[in-house]
């Protein structure tokens, strides 16, 4: 949660495109299917290597193994989703805040003021980025951290235009100067 200054309003918040989480979910589904198939084959061929005494139904053991794999996949999906959900950018009328979950229990926040922005570059690479309309925005700044990167975000062209519009508005706005007497 970011602390807003007085007169500061959140214009929009943005996170990575849904394709980012879909791609991971698909990979997870494939890995889950491979592991479930592996468990089935392992039990099926186990008599070659060791004696497996299953007194009851084999189907119940297979169903249990499948459910255990599914539960682990479900937890892994939500771990991916947590990373997706807690990586976001907040664009206000004064600055851009990059909130990044680097790993569990490790969150980093970077801020760039709109008047520090020197140039904004968009990169849309490859088939999927062109089809689904997402890409990377690279912001060159005059600050200490010279580059500010927003990867795999939705509608980069629109975001760039809005940033430029907000920057112009911020430059035109008269600055409040407080003088201590």
């Amino acid at each position: 949660m970011i602390q807003l200054n007085s007169d500061e309003i959140v214009v929009f918040e943005i996170r990575k495109h849904w394709f980012y989480i879909f791609w991971r979910a698909l990979a997870l589904l494939i890995v889950t299917a491979i592991i479930a198939g592996g468990v089935y084959l392992a039990v099926y061929f186990s008599s070659r290597y060791f004696q497996l005494n299953i007194g009851g139904s084999y189907e119940i053991i297979f169903a249990l193994g499948f459910l255990a794999v599914l539960l682990i996949a479900w937890m892994s999906f939500f771990a991916f989703w947590t990373k997706y959900y807690l990586d976001y950018w907040v664009v206000t009328n004064e600055r851009i805040v990059d909130v990044d979950l680097m790993g569990f229990f490790h969150q980093e926040t970077a801020v760039v003021r709109l008047d520090q922005i020197q140039d904004v570059t968009i990169r849309v690479n490859g088939f999927f980025q062109n089809i689904f309309g997402f890409g990377t925005i690279q912001i060159q700044t005059a600050g200490e951290s010279r580059e500010f990167i927003m990867p795999n975000i939705t509608n980069p062209e629109g975001v760039k235009e809005t940033i430029f519009r907000l920057q112009n508005e911020a430059m035109e706005k008269p600055k409040k100067v407080e003088i201590a007497v």
Binding site: R48, Q51, G55, G56, S57, I61, L64, W74, M75, V99
Partner: protein
Amino acid sequence: MSPYLPRINWNLTVTVTPLLLWLVFGTICVIYAVMSWIMVYHWDTFGYNVKHKLRVKLIYFVVSVIMLSAMALLIWLYGATLK
């Protein structure tokens, strides 16, 4: 079975008893509890939209509880078929 598989016998005997299944289930429950605590901590600490948080918790816990209950039911059923 395929005749091309190597015929190695490690002389290992694994007997699948309900107790063994309950122990495995207990281990899975512990892992689940730890993972869930970590995720809920992150949603509550770093998340900002109350509606999103509630919705995701509801989906996550309802589906997980269904899966865990189904597993417990299957183990009970396995024990019942042995008698």
